[in-house]
Every structure is written in structure tokens, then in C-alpha cells.
């Protein structure tokens, strides 16, 4: 089970770094525009990176016979939806100079679409996988995305 330890350690590091990357960003207050925007940019980049990694992982797992082709297709469709939702959020962050009351509702609307897509990815994709080991591994990527979403959800406060 040493390889499982290695895998768990690596993904735990991903989660820890995701959390730390936001802490290091400072700010956290939407009244501090540069830091606020940077924090959301980092979170959106983390989500994009985690989706990219998950696409690679899904491909490997199918090639290794740990998930079926049908399971992979379903996961890819759901990943595509999450990726589109995140792309819309990124475009909005890009065109935003300051996060304030004027654009907060639009950002929140886009954020809810990402959250919904990722929830669907987890419930209809990852949790439906027959192989428990593959399911557990892919759940770690969902955890990374959820850590980033938790930061973006600070917009709600």
C-alpha cells in the first residue's frame, strides 16, 4: 500500500497548497480590489488546472482498465460543462478591474454555475464509478476544486 500512500501524500499536498496559495494572496476583503481580484484569479486558475489534471487522470484510469469507456465519456461530458462554466467566470474576472457591488451579482451568478457543474460532476460522474479505488482518486480532484470554490464563495459574504 506504499503507492497509495504516495498518491495520497501528493494529493494532500495539492489541497494544502491550494489553501496556502489563497492565504499568501493576502487581502480577502473585496474593498481591496487588487488583492480581491488576484484571489479570484488564483481560484479560477486552480479550477482550470484541476480540471486539466482530472482529464488526464480519467484518461489514464480508462487505459488502465480501472474505469469503463462509458464512465469516461460521462466524466468527460461533465468535465466539459464544468470547464465551460469556469471559462465564463474567468472571462468575467478578466474584464473586472474591481470586485464591487456593481459586478458582484454577475460574478455570483457565474460562480453558482461553476458550483452546480462541479456538484453534477461529482454526483453524476465520480460517485457513479464502479471501481472504488478510481472513485476515491478522482474525489481528490473534486476536493481541490471545492477548496478553490470555497474561496470564491467569499463573494457571498
Amino acid at each position: 500500500m506504499k503507492q497509495r500512500k504516495t498518491w495520497t501524500t501528493a494529493l494532500t499536498l495539492v489541497l494544502a497548497l491550494t489553501c496556502l496559495s489563497f492565504k499568501c494572496g493576502g487581502g480577502g476583503n473585496t474593498n481591496n480590489p487588487p488583492d480581491g481580484k488576484r484571489k479570484y484569479a488564483k481560484a479560477a486558475d486552480d479550477i482550470a488546472g484541476a480540471i486539466s489534471s482530472m482529464i488526464d487522470a480519467v484518461k489514464k484510469l480508462q487505459q488502465q482498465g480501472r474505469i469503463t469507456a462509458d464512465e469516461e465519456k460521462k466524466l468527460l461530458q461533465l468535465l466539459n460543462t464544468s470547464n465551460d462554466a469556469n471559462n465564463a467566470l474567468i472571462n468575467n474576472i478578466k474584464s473586472t478591474t474591481t470586485v464591487d457591488a456593481s459586478n458582484k451579482s454577475e460574478l455570483l451568478s457565474l460562480l453558482s454555475q461553476v458550483t452546480s457543474a462541479v456538484s453534477d460532476l461529482n454526483n453524476s460522474g465520480v460517485l457513479k464509478i464502479g471501481n472504488a479505488d478510481a472513485r476515491q482518486r478522482l474525489s481528490k480532484f473534486i476536493s481541490t476544486i471545492n477548496a478553490a470554490l470555497a474561496i470564491l464563495n467569499q463573494l457571498n459574504t
Binding site: K2, Q3, R4, T6, W7, T9, A10, L11, L13, V14, L17, T18, S21, C24, K37, R38, A41, K42, A44, D45, D46, I47, A48, G49, A50, I51, S52, S53, I55, D56, A57, V58, K59, K60, L61, Q62, Q64, T68, A69, D70, E72, K73, K74, L76, Q77, L79, N80, T81, N83, D84, N86, N87, A88, I90, N91, I93, K94, R137, K140, T144
Partner: protein
């Protein structure tokens, strides 16, 4: 030669040391992966997955050396690359790269380009 040699004063910056240790963690895991795969049956499969996780760690760490605009640009580029990767993998599966019946119908939404 006196018995008491020159006194060397060593100052350790804890912050630097901690960050070096964190950096080494990733390097150590990365360098150990091939050894693990050689010595533990079935570990090669896990090495491939662990490498994916390490790439994600490096990506997240690299944000600290980037400006906000660079981070946003990279995020946009990655989502565009993700679309291509998904389309390619779907095509591979539909061409017989996997078993079972497909549930076709990819989404065809395009994303606007950058000005």
C-alpha cells in the same frame, strides 16, 4: 594550534528553511516515484497518476511568481486547452478506443476570443 578553533556563527532563517523544506518535499516525492514503481508491483500505474498530481502542485506553486493578469491569461489558456483535450479523448473513445456503447452528443458551445 589552540584547542579552541575559530567560532563560526550560523544564523538560520526559519522562513527560508521552511520554504526550502516544502520545495524539497515535492522534489523528493518526484524523485522517489520511479523507485517506487520499480520495486512495488503495480505501482507504475500509480506513478502516472501521482505525476499528474505533482504537475498540479507545481502549477499552484508557480502562481506566486506571476502577476494577476498572467494568472488569468493562463487560466483562460488552460480552459481552451481542456476543450481540445476533451474533444480529442472523446474522438478516441468513439473511434473504438474503449468498450461499450457511447452516449453521444458533445456540447458545441464556443468561447469568445480575447480582444
Amino acid at each position: 594550534m589552540s584547542s579552541a578553533g575559530p567560532v563560526v556563527e550560523t544564523r538560520v532563517n526559519i522562513t527560508e528553511l521552511t520554504s526550502e523544506v516544502n520545495m524539497d518535499w515535492i522534489t523528493i516525492i518526484e524523485s522517489l516515484l520511479p523507485l517506487v514503481s520499480q520495486n512495488i508491483p503495480g505501482a507504475a500505474e500509480d506513478e502516472a497518476l501521482a505525476e499528474i498530481a505533482i504537475a498540479l502542485i507545481k502549477r499552484i506553486k508557480s502562481q506566486s511568481n506571476m502577476t494577476t493578469d498572467q494568472i488569468i491569461d493562463r487560466a483562460g489558456l488552460t480552459t481552451a486547452e481542456n476543450k481540445i483535450k476533451i474533444a480529442e479523448e472523446m474522438a478516441r473513445l468513439n473511434a473504438g478506443g474503449g468498450s461499450g456503447s457511447g452516449t453521444g452528443g458533445g456540447s458545441g458551445s464556443g468561447t469568445g476570443g480575447n480582444p
